[in-house]
Amino acid sequence: MTPTVTTILYAALVIGAIGMIAAVILYFVSKAFKVIEDPRIDEVAEHLPGANCGGCGFAGCRALAEAIVKANTLDGYKCPAGGDMKAIAAVMGLEAAETEPMVAVVRCNGSCENAPAKVKYDSALSCQFATSIYAGESACPFGCLGCGDCVKACKFDAIHIDDTTGLPVVDEEKCVGCGACAKTCPRKVIEIRLKGKLGRRVFVSCVNKEKGAAARKNCSAACIGCGKCAKTCPFEAITVENNLAYIDFTKCKSCRKCVAECPTGAIHAVNFPPKKEAPAAPAEKPAAPAETSTPASEQ
């Protein structure tokens, strides 16, 4: 054999030998340090939306999947953003709890019309910043500032500022109730409430805790804390605290008596059919929404 051929042969043998030895070492190392990952984590994660919105309270969808598999229960673990909890329950061999869809509700009536601007804001478009330098264009220290921190926080493109009112509007089709907007709002104007049957719900659209006269001075549709709604409510769902009424959505039966009673129009009822049909509705209503509200209180 010529020297060149020998060199090639040696090289091939040496490389081959190193490869063999490395393969043997790797084989044993992989045996010794094997990471056993529950295959169910991947399966659970497949049924989550993958938006990593954080609405469940975990860092992302996979973190929720890991937590569910580790806890081996669905109690307290829930994807609010449209994850298929039934499919997840099937993967886990558990029973899925019935859950009611939630939705973000903007509790402020301070539109350009109801609460006319007294000053003009020209600084950074950030509610977080605006709240640190002034009470708001209408001078209401509780209301929406309209700089759109909630719009930026939403991962589902479900909330937008309405140009005519200056207030954020929630797109109910898209909103999954993850609560990212409610968390970011420095004024705590947005609340996550029960979506209600057919999206019908009643809420106090104001968070102003000032006394009546002071609240009305800045906004014609502010809650003045008069308490008429609380007296009218047959289900004791309304409480008035710090000059502000609040409707407990787990108790509300959507009878809408309070809406007519409110002197400032601060209570809103949405997605109900037009007023004329109202007389027929109350008969069945107390029964129907009761179904929807019971599971919610169990959660």
Partner: protein, 440 residues
């Protein structure tokens, strides 16, 4: 000429009201005195509705550690105690007093004669500062007596008096130097006793040569008070920058001036301490410049605390082209969104900006030109802090030293893209601070 080393800017000085000597603003018919006029906890009301009060009577008592007493600026009857909107529009507890005559509480010397000899001891002076509700009148309104409670292992080498008045437009400190130099010197003597410092230095920017000359003349009678001329550069009057300029010492990040043996007070505070120590007079008035480019009636007022801002504006007449009214200077002041608010301690200026001047330009993308980095007197990278805040990356904000920002506004001042850099940094600082506190 002495100055701080890094950053700084040169805004238009616009000391328009410098020739106007201080006038006493008439006592209004009703005053509204906020119970929080300082940094820290609110004071606790000591009067009730219907009580008769005299000028200088204690109406709000400091019960927390960082808190200051509040006194009645007028004599009359307490009409009500209720939350009232401050100049930002937020409600704070306040005492509303209907004015009747001008009767002073006992023990207050109302004569204008200069009292030179200080009879009080070190502790008595500090107690008097606390009793008279003295706060830092440079703007932050930090309770002064707390500054003088020096920890036993620390020693005060320098007492520094900030008379730089580096904010444009404001001229009250300048007027004080010309009109009240004698009183200020006695005040500084009292502060020297209280702090135990061997020497006091008054730092004045070079754009006020007549004030420097007058102060130097008066200070010649006091062997341990020096007047130092400083370069005219913003923010010369910021605490850390003043210490660097006068002593060459650098305050470590996150520490107080006492760490490098310094106490810094504003010259207006020195005057208030003179009145407290020698006359037993609490802070019931504030010195306020009313200025603006299109304002004809420029004024330096001495106003009773609790006077309605609108009354002051009506007295000077607001020009038609006013776009924004600011409490404090144009660099660090805050825009007033509620004109029916009331004067407080340390409200050193009411600035009437013209429409043109107050308008923010259109915001463009960051050019990475580095002007803000060059301007920052704390050696930070403002454009990065702006970006990190935008991305909500507060860990990175902390790493890039956002907590060292003194909010002087030098970064926003020169930005060619008109970016609201300081606005965003303030948000980031707030969030990062909360994150750090939550960690503990």
């Amino acid at each position: 000429m002495k100055t701080f080393k890094i950053g700084g800017i040169h805004p238009e000085e616009n000391k328009l009201a410098k020739e106007q000597s201080v006038e006493i603003f008439p006592i209004p018919k009703q005053v509204t005195v906020f119970l929080t006029q300082h940094l820290g906890a609110p004071s606790v009301p000591q009067v009730q509705k219907g009580d008769k009060v005299k000028v200088g009577q204690l109406i709000g008592k400091a019960e927390a550690f960082i808190c200051a007493n509040v006194h009645s600026p007028v004599s009359g009857t307490v009409a009500k105690i209720e939350p009232v909107a401050d100049f930002l529009g937020y409600k704070k507890d306040a005492v509303v007093i209907d004015v009747e005559g001008d009767e002073w509480a006992e023990g207050i010397d109302t004569s204008s004669e200069l009292k030179k000899d200080i009879t009080l001891t070190k502790q008595e002076i500090i107690d008097r500062m606390k009793a008279c509700g003295i706060v830092g009148l440079g703007g932050a309104c930090f309770p002064t007596h707390v500054k003088y409670m020096v920890p036993p292992d620390k020693q005060v080498d320098y007492l520094l008096i900030n008379a730089a008045e580096c904010e444009p437009y404001i001229t009250v400190d300048y007027r004080m130097m010309l009109e009240r130099a004698d009183e200020v010197m006695v005040g500084i003597e009292a502060m020297l006793i209280a702090s135990g410092a061997p020497v006091a230095m008054i730092g004045v920017e070079a754009n006020k040569p007549d004030a420097i000359a007058h102060l130097t003349k008066v200070a010649a009678n006091y062997k341990n008070i020096q007047v130092v001329e400083l370069k005219t550069k913003y923010p010369q009057g910021a605490e850390k920058q003043l210490i660097k300029a006068l002593t060459g010492r650098s305050v470590p990040n996150g520490k107080l001036p006492i760490e490098v043996g310094c106490i810094v007070n504003n010259i207006a505070t020195a005057f208030a301490i003179y009145e407290a120590v020698q006359k037993n007079k609490p802070i019931i008035e504030t010195f306020t410049t009313v200025s603006g480019k299109s304002l004809k009636n420029l004024k330096n007022y001495r106003v009773r605390i609790g006077t309605c801002i609108n009354d002051i504006l009506n007295a000077v007449g607001v020009p038609e082209d006013t776009g924004k009214i600011i409490s404090g200077g144009p660099m660090m002041g805050k825009a007033i969104s509620n004109l029916n608010a009331f004067t407080v301690k340390g409200m050193s200026s009411l600035l009437l900006m013209t429409e043109k001047e107050s308008k923010r330009g259109e915001v463009y993308e960051c050019l990475r030109c580095g002007k803000c980095v060059h301007a920052c007197p704390m050696g930070l990278e403002p454009y990065m802090l702006h970006a990190f805040t935008d991305l909500q990356r507060y860990e990175d904000c902390e790493k890039y030293g956002i907590m060292n920002c003194i909010e002087c506004g030098s970064c926003s001042f020169g930005c060619p893209s008109n970016r609201p850099i300081l606005d965003m940094i303030r948000v980031g600082k707030n969030k990062t601070g909360a994150m750090i506190r939550a960690r503990k």
